[in-house]
Amino acid sequence: MTTRTTAAPAEAPHGVARLLAGMRDDGRPVGLQEHLGLHGPLVGGSGLIERVTASGLRGRGGGGFPTGTKLRAVADQRKRPFTVVNGTEGEPASRKDKALLRTVPHLVLDGALTAATAVGSREIIICIARSAARERAVLAAALAERRDKVHWRLASIPDGFVSGEETALLSALGGRAAKPTVKPPYPFERGLDNAPSLVQNAETLAHVALIARHGPGWFRSLGTETEPGTALVSLSGAVRRPGVYEIELGTPLQGLIAQAGGPSEQIDAYLVGGYFGGWTREADLRLTASSGLGAGVVVALPTATCALAETARIARYLANESAGQCGPCARGLAALAGGLEQLASGKYDDRSRLARWAQQVAGRGACHHPDGAARFVTSALATFAAETDTHLKHRRCRHRDRGVLRAAGA
């Protein structure tokens, strides 16, 4: 546990800005003393698993798995576990984990430390993408400020959409390629060095740090009954102020758009849940994991871009990002991308085969990459059905692809 307790116990954050409460206007990271002044000392780990379970916190890395259940499963293993912070954030439209690590690093580190203590880890490995130079520097400086009784390690993982998948992450840490492995065994039972491994998303751990301090009742005072708390959202596209926002779970989409200053031009549809998510035109959709929020990516797609070309480009990106290990993923995602490209150019109507392929690839890989990609494509075909008809009729689109949906490197 953190031993320095010079700061007086702080009050629990009142508003919706919980994780981002301490964020400085100048964008510089919050140092340890400032952090302790803001949130108070980190209180002991006993009963943490019960408190996290009672809080109803679900993982913010995209899977939405109950965090208390995972902590319990790891704590119940016989061997000493590793704790792994997943800060790789491979999805190009996602910014929230990097934002957290860059601005309030000690919140994530506190969460990792309490979780590690609760499950009996002595070693915590913080994983960030190789390209995340700024975050690496901030974390190294933050670690140098702390005197914790654990061994911290900062690891760089090769960039890539799939490298943040938990077994890919553990493979990379083990010195192998950052590619997923077959489950079972699951990381909670057998992960790094064959030891149980607690893999949690960076944002999940930041919530844990606050639940440890203020308790499950406080956590549940925002959000919905089944999905309590707040969540970070990476919002991009046709809004006046794109960026990372903290919302109360259950907030309607239009409330988020309003927070970002409203639309910057006419919006056609929203992508909720990023490149594993789905499209919607319902502005009153309540944002929760069960409504598809995933890892918190929302993109407002303007009317003045070609939705089909945008979708096809991301489908191709996802196909290229396949680890190429599983037949249906390697072959199927490329087929889906090809079919969408044909539709976008108005050349060829392959919709019945696209629907069949999307159904065939879902659930057929060692990881959920093909499932997510299939969901993204299926939802695009449903949402942009009228546009597709127009494309096929006129063999072209009024709009060009403005690159609103970002692929890595773009």
């Binding site: 899977g63 259940t69 909670f188 290990q325 037949g327 057929r364």
Partner: protein, 73 residues
């Protein structure tokens, strides 16, 4: 105890023999990779399942006893 067929999609290279040996529960997708029915296997079909498992050149198929694990993304 009910038995399930489990496929290792990384090991599988789409040989397709399993679908011939156990068509009741295994069919091939558009690229020739097996789609394995996840329902439990009745005792009457267990012999077919074992053949498919034994003859897979990549040892990608296994017959396992059903158990529940906390599924994760």
């Amino acid at each position: 105890m009910s038995k399930l067929l489990r496929l290792d999609p990384i090991a599988c290279d789409g040989h397709g023999l399993c679908a011939e040996l156990f068509p009741e529960r295994i069919r091939l997708d558009d690229w020739g990779f097996p789609i394995v029915d996840q329902r439990s296997i009745p005792p009457a079909l267990e012999e077919h399942a074992r053949r498919a498992v034994a003859d897979c050149p990549k040892i990608a198929l296994r017959l396992v006893t059903a158990r529940t694990v906390p599924g994760e993304r």
